[in-house]
Amino acid sequence: MTDIQQINFIGNIKKALGRSDAKPRLFEDLIQTAPNADDTALMKTIHDRDRKTGLTLLNKFTEIAKTINTKVVAVENGAQIAAAIAGITADRDAEWGDEKSIVAWDHPLVNSLNLTTAVQPIGVPVYFPEDDSRHAPAEAFRKRSETALIGVTSADFALAETATLTMKTRPGRPLHVSLLPSIHIAVVCLEQILSNLKELYTLLKWDPEQKAEGLTHSMAFITGPSKTADIEATLVHGAHGPRELIIFVLTNEIIDC
């Protein structure tokens, strides 16, 4: 589908560039289309990374996170995370709803926490997206998200150097769970920690699995809780998004991340 406005618009650019249509340029000639030696080496480094290096990255991640008001907690098993989330839930006040509630992704790692059981004693419900490929259930789940105290997600990767979480959008994992609740809690495995943005982009660009999936319709990088400095350059947390971000890193368990 090419419209007349597009033809004129692009034609105008060609004219400004003094381009003749005699030899059209190809996009493929402008970009690198296959991994070079550096890219391949970096992918191998990421792939072969051992547990010890992983723990070093976790330390870096934790240290940087501290500087941006983000708490990183290393834990050995899911039960500890569930107990910690129950503790946080009991400790904080509801912001948007009258009652406290939790919304969570439908994700193997999140499901394995058995959150529902963990927070039952304090009488807090946990909601999961039932079927977000249809209108009514998706709307109903978003309503839950609007009033929830806590949103629990996982992430695709965690970047140590900037304390960043990255996530593509997939069924059962709506964007609003990390956005609407007052507190965002993310659960990731040690193996998901990368060094930096460069490693992430190398994977996104060259890793066959990542490439096949693409960036999806929406990919988010989350670094710290919502913040603003728009009034006299004074830093304030909780402008529009979550006012608190807590990240649990599973260091021991072998789980499908």
Binding site: M1, Q5, Q6, N8, F9, I10, N12, I13, K14, K15, A16, L17, R19, F27, L30, I31, Q32, D132, S133, R134, H135, A138, E139, F141, R142, L159, E161, T162, T164, L175, H176, L179, L197, K198, L204, K205, G214, L215, H217, S218, M219, A220, F221, I222, T223, G224, P225, S226, K227, T228, A229, D230, I231, E232, A233, V236, G238, A239, H240, G241
Partner: protein, 469 residues
């Protein structure tokens, strides 16, 4: 017409101590922070030079890159529209709004939307548009215009914001930033959940993947583009990179240049939403790509470099002139050194003649620019066009008198005898001018402007050449 306006606004900004404190803080924090940050990149300071080459490469292949971006967005079910000027861009947005029965739109900060006058157009069509970046929200409530590209309300004090919120939001007066932020959080939450349309700008699109990216720290852009049923993004035609490799570099430089951050709080890649869109989220994604004078800049090899700009606002954070006169004097959403080049090129060089003449050519902007744009070169070139006139850009000579004076001066200094005579006459003549020691307090005629704020050195009794020979 804007000339007196510039001087007037600059004067009142200079006389405003609260604004000064804010601008000093801003420049201390962001300007110095970015300078330090550039040194700490693994690639070092050379990254800026590399980024400049990448940007030029993109600009020189803009036709191919924009077509690829468009095809890739459409492939994933997104809509792309092209707009040669502001009116067409606004019309596209109004069409989409009508199709979706939009009554209210929430908006992320976008200087481009200010450039095309989007809010006024939507208001005229009966659509309420709410700015959601805290700074933009403040100035929207105050019915003012942004004075910085990324810190639009930098000119407002906490007391002013306190009174504004007391009046407009009906909350008790407070000058505590967390309390005020919480009030805005509550007020805007309702708007986010109710809005039918989310509007955003675009920091950098990626042609290879078919996405735009938006950057914010508050999360307001994520809210605006995740909750309403339709998302409309506005993009200046140059705000695109070819692939993820380029994106990596430019994105890191954007965060550092703009806010001295290694990584902004929230970065979102957005592309087409498939056939049906998302349930409980946007059903449609529209990208409006805008020219509005940019292809004219592209066509001029001397100014083409300006299209490398990624609008981080980094040059404002170091500019000594911006630091004194603030953003409003620039009479455009684009202020500071970037505004002093872009605004005349987009809106008329004569009309905004004061902008390039007001800058000091100190070069701080170029050092602070994450993509190393030679802004001083272009400021000088604009001055040249104003001095000599220019057909392509339709520039009239700004001052015939000044032009004539320089012609006389040129003749004078090329003729030694005439020059000697001039010096002697001036030496005698200057005795009649008010002065002290070897300085003249007030020059006559056209020279009076020069001595309004400084003294002029007297002509010496003996020429330099005579003294050494």
């Amino acid at each position: 017409m804007n000339s007196s306006n510039y001087t007037q606004k600059a004067r009142s900004a200079i006389a405003n101590p609260a604004l000064h404190t804010a601008l000093v803080n801003l420049q201390e924090r962001f300007g110095k922070g970015a300078a330090l940050g550039y040194q700490n990149f693994p690639e070092g300071l050379d990254l800026r030079l590399k980024a400049h080459d990448i940007r030029m490469g993109t600009i020189e292949n803009l036709d191919v890159i924009l077509e690829t971006l468009t095809n890739n967005i459409r492939k994933s079910g997104g809509h792309v529209h092209f707009a040669m000027d502001a009116q067409v861009a606004v019309d596209h947005c109004l069409d989409i709004a009508r199709k979706h029965d939009v009554a209210m739109a929430v908006k992320g900060k976008s200087m481009l939307s200010e450039e095309i006058g989007l809010n006024h157009a939507l208001a005229a069509a009966g659509i309420e548009t709410v700015e959601t970046d805290l700074g933009e929200y403040i100035i929207q409530l105050a019915e003012e215009t942004p004075s910085h590209i990324i810190a639009p309300a930098i000119h407002k004090t906490r007391q002013q914001v306190g009174r504004l919120f007391q009046e407009k939001l009906g909350i008790p007066y407070s000058e505590d930033p967390p309390t005020l932020t919480l009030a805005a959080r509550k007020a805007l939450r309702e708007k986010f959940l109710k809005a039918d349309m989310g509007i955003s700008g675009c920091n950098l699109a990626c042609a290879e993947t078919g996405h735009i990216t938006t950057v914010s720290n508050e999360g307001n852009i994520r809210m605006s583009t995740t909750l309403p049923k339709v998302h409309v993004a506005f993009m200046g035609m140059e705000r695109v990179v070819a692939d993820l490799k380029d994106h990596d570099i430019l994105f890191r430089l954007l965060s550092m240049g703009g806010a001295a951050q290694s990584m902004a709080g929230y970065v979102s890649y957005r592309g087409g939403l498939g056939e049906k869109g998302l349930f409980a989220g946007p059903r449609e994604f529209h990208l409006i790509i805008i020219d509005n004078g940019r292809s004219k800049i592209l066509a001029d090899p001397d100014f083409r470099e300006m299209l490398c700009c990624i609008r981080c606002g980094g040059c404002l954070n170091v500019c000594p002139v911006y630091g004194e006169i603030g953003g409003h004097a620039y009479n455009s959403p684009y202020s500071g050194p970037v505004g002093a080049v872009v605004t005349p090129l987009l809106n008329g060089i004569n009309r905004h003649a004061d902008l390039c003449q007001g800058e000091s050519l100190c070069g701080a902007c170029m050092d602070a620019c994450p993509v190393n744009i030679d802004i001083p070169r272009m400021l000088l070139l604009l001055r040249q066009k104003l001095a000599e006139g220019d057909k392509t850009w339709n520039v009239q000579v700004k001052s015939r008198l000044e032009q004539a004076a320089f012609r006389v001066w040129s003749t004078l200094i090329q003729n030694p005898r005439l020059y000697d005579w001039f010096l002697k006459t001036a030496f005698v003549g200057q005795k009649f001018l008010p002065g002290k020691n070897d300085m003249i307090r007030r020059l006559p005629f056209a020279g009076s402007g020069w001595t309004r704020s400084r003294d002029f050195k007297k002509v010496a009794a003996k020429r330099f050449m005579d003294r050494i020979s």
